[in-house]
């Protein structure tokens, strides 16, 4: 395969997807424009703001720094899938209750990032939470409410795990 246009076959939110794309199309643009999954956002295209965070093969990545072409054969999860499956329901509820989002643009990336932090099962300190979300830019909240919400979910999950 040595073309400007590629065929890819991948799984997105559990659904098989087969598309023909330009090689230069980023993963996040592919999700948003080809698949109309607009929950992942484009904020900078430098890999700095984290608004494009999605999951590829189970780990968070910058959707603006991966090509869709690289995802042939891959398993991709976006906020829509992770939301519909109920995986992050407690995080979503905590964010909503604590108002850990205002405009919501950073929120899908923030939720996926938070979920990755909490998936180890440990209760991170506030410093550790801040460190883990340090690659997700939020202009609205000032981060305090987000830290509160993630901390509360970590405690709740650990509590119910006992």
């Amino acid at each position: 395969m040595s073309e400007r246009v590629c065929d890819i076959a991948l799984t997105v939110n559990g659904e098989s997807v087969v598309e023909t794309i330009e090689a230069r199309q980023s993963l996040v643009d592919f999700l948003r424009e080809k698949l109309s999954l607009t929950g992942s956002h484009v904020g900078c295209e430098h890999g700095v703001c984290g608004a494009c965070t999605v999951r590829v093969e189970g780990v968070t990545v910058r959707g603006c720094l991966m090509l869709a072409a690289q995802c042939d054969g891959a398993k991709v999860d976006t906020i829509e899938g992770v939301s519909d499956s109920g995986e992050i329901a407690d995080l979503q509820q905590a964010f909503e209750k604590r108002n850990a989002l205002q405009c919501g643009f950073c929120t899908p990336g923030m939720l996926l990032t938070a979920q990755e932090l909490l998936s180890s099962g440990a209760i991170p300190s506030r410093e550790k939470i801040r460190e883990h979300i340090s690659g997700n830019y939020c202009r609205c909240t000032g981060y305090h409410a987000i830290v509160d919400a993630i901390e509360a979910v970590a405690q709740a999950r650990a509590g119910s795990a006992r």
Partner: protein, 280 residues
């Protein structure tokens, strides 16, 4: 910003990658965390992108015979979790949390970072501090290049247009090995304003074979050789003042040359303390 159009090819092996590199305007894609940002901004417009990520066997971490070999496609997050690296290459373990953010570390690779050679990046300096070497596969076979010789200028390395960096090799740490790392960055995860990766060996209560690799102070990692000698002679104040001639940074958007020099001295004192601590 969308990249200029390019063709995309998936290399099946290192040899295949070298074949594909015959294209005059090709670039290798590893983690992509630096490259794709560059392409998005159209700072670079290659006509062919060669994806290395499908090549098997390039992400093995192996410690044997006093050497740690790390495959070039080892992801930063793999290195972060690696018990071998924690034990035999503690300097790299110290540097890892400073590299970008979790999502970046999930994709970025050690080989990619070293090949890209950003002057403010952590891993090139670590390689220099460790006195390591890189293994390069090229049109004429394999060769090893020592870290001190590998970095040549701003984003410039020994890698030729048909070379593929396949692994890095560093001397495995022993009980007498010391490592120190510190950087000043305006925000956690940013490229460093100034950073220092350092190794040494215990020498009684002092140090010998000190290697100090500063980053963010020049076009490439800078060995501060006079300072190294002074530290080896227990002269900490002397080491700090030696930086005045060892380093010649330029002003940049984040800091003036004078500030960088001053911060280099502050880092040196902090890292020297780390070097003096026996291994845990």
């Amino acid at each position: 910003m969308k990249p200029a159009p390019f063709a995309y090819a998936r290399a099946k092996s290192v040899e295949h990658a070298i074949e594909l590199l015959a294209h005059p305007e090709a670039r290798l894609l590893a983690g992509g965390q630096s490259l794709i940002a560059t392409l998005n901004m159209r700072l670079s417009a290659p006509k062919l992108l060669i994806d290395l990520n499908g090549i098997n066997g390039l992400s093995v971490i192996k410690a044997s015979d006093g050497t740690v070999e790390i495959g070039a496609l080892t992801r930063h997050c793999e290195a972060e979790r690696s018990a071998e690296i924690a034990k035999y290459a503690p300097l790299i373990a110290l540097a890892m949390p400073h590299i970008g953010h979790a999502a970046i570390r999930n994709r970025g690779t050690l080989g990619g970072s070293i090949a890209f050679a950003d002057p403010a990046a952590e891993l090139p300096a670590c390689l220099v501090a460790l006195g390591g070497e890189v293994e390069i596969a090229g049109g004429h076979g394999m060769r090893a290049v020592k870290a001190d010789d590998f970095f040549k200028g701003l984003f410039e390395t020994s890698l030729g247009s048909r070379d593929v960096l396949t692994s890095i090799r560093i001397p495995a740490a022993t009980s007498g090995s010391r490592a120190g790392f510190a950087e000043f960055a305006r925000r956690h995860g940013d490229y460093a304003m100034v950073g220092l990766a350092a190794t040494a060996e215990a020498n009684g209560r002092g140090l010998k074979n000190v290697r100090l690799a500063f980053f963010g102070v020049g076009d490439m990692p800078m060995r501060a050789k006079k300072a190294e000698a002074a530290l080896g002679a227990d002269d900490f104040d002397g080491a700090v003042s030696a930086l005045g001639s060892d380093l010649d940074p330029r002003d940049d958007v984040q800091a003036t040359a004078a500030t960088k020099k001053h911060l280099a001295g502050v880092l040196l004192r902090r890292v020297a303390k780390q070097l003096l601590e026996p291994r845990a």
